[in-house]
Symmetry: none
Subunit: 473 residues, 2 copies
Amino acid sequence: MAELIPILDEQAAESLYGQLYRFFREEILSGRIVAGTKLPSVRHLCRSAGVSKSTVETAYQQLLAEGYLESRARSGFYVVEAVDFAGWDVLPAEGEAEVVTPPVAAVAPRYNFHGSVIDLASFPLGVWKKCMLEAMERYQGDLAFYGDKLGEYELRAEIARYLRQARTVQAVPEQVVVGTGLLQAVGSLCLLLAADVKKVAIEEPGYADVREVFEQHGMEVVPVPLEEDGLSVQLLRESGAQMVYVTPAHQYPYGMIMPIAKRMQLLEWARSTGGLILENDYDGEFRYKVKPVPSLQGLDQHGSVIYVSNFSKALSPAIRVNYMVLPLKVMERYRAFYQQYANPVSRIEQRALQLFLQNGHWERHIRKMRKVYERKQAALLQAVEEEFGDLVSVLAQAAGLHLILEVKAERSGEELAAIAVAAGVKVYPTTRNWIGAAKPAWPRLLLGFGGLSPEEIREGIQLLRHAWFPDER
Amino acid sequence: MAELIPILDEQAAESLYGQLYRFFREEILSGRIVAGTKLPSVRHLCRSAGVSKSTVETAYQQLLAEGYLESRARSGFYVVEAVDFAGWDVLPAEGEAEVVTPPVAAVAPRYNFHGSVIDLASFPLGVWKKCMLEAMERYQGDLAFYGDKLGEYELRAEIARYLRQARTVQAVPEQVVVGTGLLQAVGSLCLLLAADVKKVAIEEPGYADVREVFEQHGMEVVPVPLEEDGLSVQLLRESGAQMVYVTPAHQYPYGMIMPIAKRMQLLEWARSTGGLILENDYDGEFRYKVKPVPSLQGLDQHGSVIYVSNFSKALSPAIRVNYMVLPLKVMERYRAFYQQYANPVSRIEQRALQLFLQNGHWERHIRKMRKVYERKQAALLQAVEEEFGDLVSVLAQAAGLHLILEVKAERSGEELAAIAVAAGVKVYPTTRNWIGAAKPAWPRLLLGFGGLSPEEIREGIQLLRHAWFPDER
DNA sequence: ATGGATTTGTCCGTATGTATG
DNA sequence: TCATACATACGGACAAATCCA
């Protein structure tokens, strides 16, 4: 064996054994030391390199652990034979490369009428902090292990209680499943029901994101046109779908509330065909003027309705908690199927939410937010009326955190949105919520008002009017 | 209605009304009391059960509040008609019996050697609280809206930095995806890659939960037997799989480290077949004696390795954060495919974790935990040696939070586990991690030591020895 | 072939400067 | 601030493998 003395730098930041380890690893990987070679003995090397025995030993042990060397007891360390190392580039140097440069934020529009932004000023930060702290204190034992796969029982009990009382949902804690989002929940149902549900009906227009989830899971998606009062049950019948996705509380995007008669027809469809109804209680909490309508699930007598909802609008979209209420037959399958998955929601956050509900903050908060959003909606309605008058008509006023503006202009929704952006206002075309071509005579745009103050709303609408109808007035 | 008199135990720890509540709840959920049944009147029941009126009343009120009963004024309490309770299992579905649903406390084994429990006493609760509070303060603006779909950028940057430095992973923040768990990540990859990956190879024995996820997504799963140093690349080649799932840092469950030669063979397989490698860096942080070994992904030069790991062992399984590092070609597909999904992890918790990493707590914590678990492992090894001597041999010592005990007994792993449970000790057979029949000559059981103190470990092992080998000594 | 000298990996107690809490 | 713990480095003790007279 020729000379093979690594040059070590006592001054270097890297430890001596680290330098030694790296030297030999690179010699081996580059093929300069061929397989089968006996490395210098510990004692020999420590003398020639001028370091202690254990320094060499530590380096050799590491190479041994990683499989570069094998040790023959009291004989020596040998480079493993198993593979030809020649030609492998040396590993990238460890350590720091670049500084963290957060990606350049796109120029945020001054007035963003997004439908999912909430009113931050009303978020009960203090209370939420308290709940989090108490959760960490009271339930610190939870941190050691996975929790209930369906969600912490006490949280599910609180959700069930709330749903029974406020949303007329029939629910016991055992039916409730807690998850991280509506789309995730729909995805999990797709996988669960894939064997039985090949064809799923959705509202046309409807929630495009949900449609994509169905499609990604290989389901055939049938658009069922909306009538005045929700989707056409007649056409649903003809579709041959095994499941239908509906938003009876507040149709997305058009905002109609499904009347009781149509709800009964829908349930009758389910009963007679054995079909499943996936009820998204979208914006159910925020209903203005009109009386609450019982949830579809609450009217159901045959366990055909899967009820889904979330805390994104009423609490925060950043908190990532949704819930499902499953009928018995689906629940049994769900439990068996998702047996191996830990619940995806942080246990502490579940506990915080549980405390938030248990202490009555939730109901208080909902009541408060109803007022807040009612005022914002009023501001938006008034601004729209004042600025646009007959140039637009307004849909989806009964509930929710957005309106639909039907604009009497010879332009597409996309064009109008682009014009708006140029003026610093972001509004949202609804065309992607159609599977077929959008049919309304005039373009319709979605304007969410949750994240803007009444003043911002008024200013935004003024800008919008000047951008869209510069000549009027 | 026939006699229905619960037997109450005045001496029990549980309150009388609690026992009553639980009794009826279980009767209803199990279907032994059918929907619509009138329960015995308060007065009647309090006489027959020998308790006071208010005890019964409290129990009924609780059941009422939770939706099991409805009260008809001046008539009585009835089991609700709406939900068909028949067939609801009171106990959680098969699987983790140690997950306690509060109303029905399962008998927790005194010494639970579960592989995923962490050392709670070492959890940095104070620091974590501080991070959470600061996150809520500093990033309260995040609460108004959804975050980055891949995870908050600064968190991904911190994860990338850590992985580069400590795990020799080649990672920039743009490749990192944050999620709620390893299985969820694998599931999302299945959906994403379904078109290209029909057949996936896994280690035999391997991680059964992961196998089930693959199967649920319709992939054909090919078990590839383990050799001394990890799965057989020869047989992998012959399998025709388009993807392989491996745990090179610490094979689950047997604990071997994949040596460099086999890593290169594996990468060569990927290069020559265009296959993908899914590297789960399982327990990579907890290596005893030598430093952690570099990742497989770090050796890859062709973007064939998907790297996945999580914070469950090293921080807490209750916190639900995992991460993936995707090769660029996969990353592009991922972004396009999951475009509509909000990131499932709570933004505040992401921020807290980000601060935890940024302030160096993470590296500190890892170093600390390595010591803690090293001590526990030593205690377990010593106890096993003292109690069992040659009656067992020990595998998987190099790393991780568990050992494998090969028990020289003419019984199956399941039998041994059952005997252990009867003695108050829970250990885990490994047979379900095999697809084919388990081949080892002797039964092998998994003993996790993360959640037990050295004393508990010793006591548990003593009990185990007496239960398994009562005649020896 | 052999026995003793030497070399070798392995184990272990210790010293020291640095980082940690 | 200070005590402690830790990573790193050092060298002695031991026993097995190897070498060689």
